[in-house]
Amino acid sequence: MNGTTAVELRRGLGESVVALTGALDAKSLPPIWSKARAAVRENGAAPLRVDAAGVSYCDGSGIAFLLDLLREGSRQGSRITITNLAPRFAELLAQFDQTSLEDETPPPRAAPLRLTEQLGRAVLQLGADLRHQGNYVRHVTLCLLYELRHPSVVRWKEVLGVAEQMGVNGLPVVTLIAFLMGVVLAYQSAVPMRQFGAEIFVANLIGLSLLRELAPLMTTIVLAGRTGAAFAAEIGTMKVNEEIDALTTMALDPVRFLVVPRMIATLSVTPLLTIYAGVVGLIGGGLVMLTFNIPLVTYFKQIVSVVSIGDFIGGLFKSAVFAFLVAAVGCLRGLETQGGPRAVGQAATRAVVSAIVLIVVFDGIFAVIFNFLRI
């Protein structure tokens, strides 16, 4: 494999000669490949002999190089012969002819669909998806109700594991976000309200917005990013590894076996996380209010006077519904995974996006309903 690789064009009367020396491999060929191709092109249609007597080594890349010279020669209308190539390399080259590498047909490209056809297909797909998701939600709900009526069949060990993973391990991030949310809300509202001497009403704003709206919303959005994605990736990997098929052929329902424990854990832990987030957010706001000379006692008394039990329960109810959506869509995206590792990543992404969209849509619906019911 040693020796400097070089190419030289020698013009003769009857035929021109391209002399090759050195090793023809991936390491040595880049500097001479285009030079040799140019020499063949320059030779035009005249007969050309490639003298490989000086070739010390030739491997797959070298064979590709010689085939390229033959192909370039035939494009120019020249008759090219390769001579003096060592027998073992010639044996390798003999496995190919010039058309060997060109016989594959490119993959057929589908004709672009017309707009109406695209629209029709999208509607059909949407209908199929909604039907599928409706069936899935019904199946999950029935399994959930059955297991709640028969607690002995619940896989409690898995429920506790998931609850620990999503609840206890999620506390630091929920703490940070809730605390900063309280701090930011307090600062942003206290500065303008001070101009009117109305700093005390910042407590009303923080209390209502956190307990009714922001604590359930932010907690479940964090949940969608952490837990929903984890559910989709975990179940998606099981799908790719045929573990879901194994469950099915063991006559075990994957929804009962995998989805329901996750649902129970999520539905149990999320309201607790929401209460925790609300309290931490209120503390954050209270600390800011201290800098505006509002004592903590006054701040919390003001909150208690303005936030009703209905606001608190409404926030918890929303967090439970959002938790159902996050867990259900995370598991659904996992079960829908098709293909390899890339599909697992896509399933996790789809789980997070779907969960956040659903949370926001349902939050809007709740806002209308609560307003209508005067809650």
């Binding site: 991936a26 491997d59 797959g60 590709a64 190089f65 085939l67 390229d68 496995q95 293909g339 590792p341």
Partner: protein
């Protein structure tokens, strides 16, 4: 390192730490792989074959010992030097490890695009040449998920050979393949070794494959945590006095099941 050897493993001890204690899997293992030969690392499940391979290709650091790859020690090499050594060999992993987001052709093109200065046409031609050599030219545009197990392994060999390495490591090439596909893969390995002069290091426990392809074999034994026997496959089968080797080649169970 002797002149005719391309890999020298010297006094290699491999293992890991568990609860603060060192667990040794292989103790003081030494062997040589000769240039151009098909060398098999044989052993039962859990004998440390794949662990040994991972140390030879620089994915894991040993507890002690040296591994010389074509004159360079991969154990003591720093990061840039190790990357340079890694360019001397290609690896086919047990499950192929093709990149699912790329077509078969793109998988083979990738190392050429990253590590050579060939123009696009040349890269395409070289990648097609490698795929032709493994008989996969009709499948160049297919995604790995659309290939059968045997085809995926052949595509992985083509990718391992993309940069014309002197050595190709194969981890369990026959695992999960039917006997016909396995025999086809054995023939491919022999043809590539003979025509391209590549040194193959094959980790396997498939006896028919070993007899078909291997010039020399070492056999790992989990009880002694070392090499139980070495030689040609026939020598191991006919002449080894090691009871573990004898049982392995005669497919005798170690102890009766209840």
């Amino acid at each position: 390192m002797s002149a005719d050897s391309i890999i020298d493993v010297e006094h290699l001890t491999v293992g890991y730490a568990r609860d603060g204690e060192e667990v040794v899997l292989l103790q003081d293992v030494s062997f040589k792989v000769l240039r151009g030969e098909v060398f098999a690392i044989l052993g039962g499940s859990g004998s440390g074959k794949t662990t040994l391979l991972k140390h030879m290709i620089g994915l894991q650091q040993p507890l002690a010992g040296r591994i010389w790859i074509d004159g360079d020690d991969i154990v003591t090499a720093d990061r840039p030097a190790r990357r340079a050594i890694m360019r001397k060999f290609g690896v086919m992993y047990q499950m192929g490890a093709l990149f699912g987001s790329m077509s078969t052709l793109e998988n083979v093109r990738l190392p050429l695009e990253e590590f050579t200065e060939f123009d696009d046409d040349a890269i395409d031609l070289i990648a097609r040449t490698k795929l032709y050599l493994v008989g996969l030219l009709p499948a160049v545009h297919r995604a790995p998920a659309e290939l059968s197990g045997g085809m995926q392994k052949r595509a992985a060999i083509a990718r391992a050979m993309a940069l014309d390495p002197a050595i190709v490591f194969l981890d369990e090439p026959s695992a999960g393949l039917d006997p016909i596909t396995s025999a086809e893969l054995d023939r491919l390995i022999i043809r590539l070794a003979r025509t391209l002069g590549i040194t193959f290091v094959v980790v396997t426990h498939e006896l028919p494959s070993i007899f078909a392809i291997a010039d020399r074999v070492i056999m790992l034994d989990q009880h002694s945590r070392g090499i139980a026997a070495s030689g040609t496959p026939a020598q191991l089968r006919e002449h080894s006095d090691n009871p573990w080797v004898h049982r392995f080649f005669n497919r005798e169970p170690e102890e009766a099941l209840p």
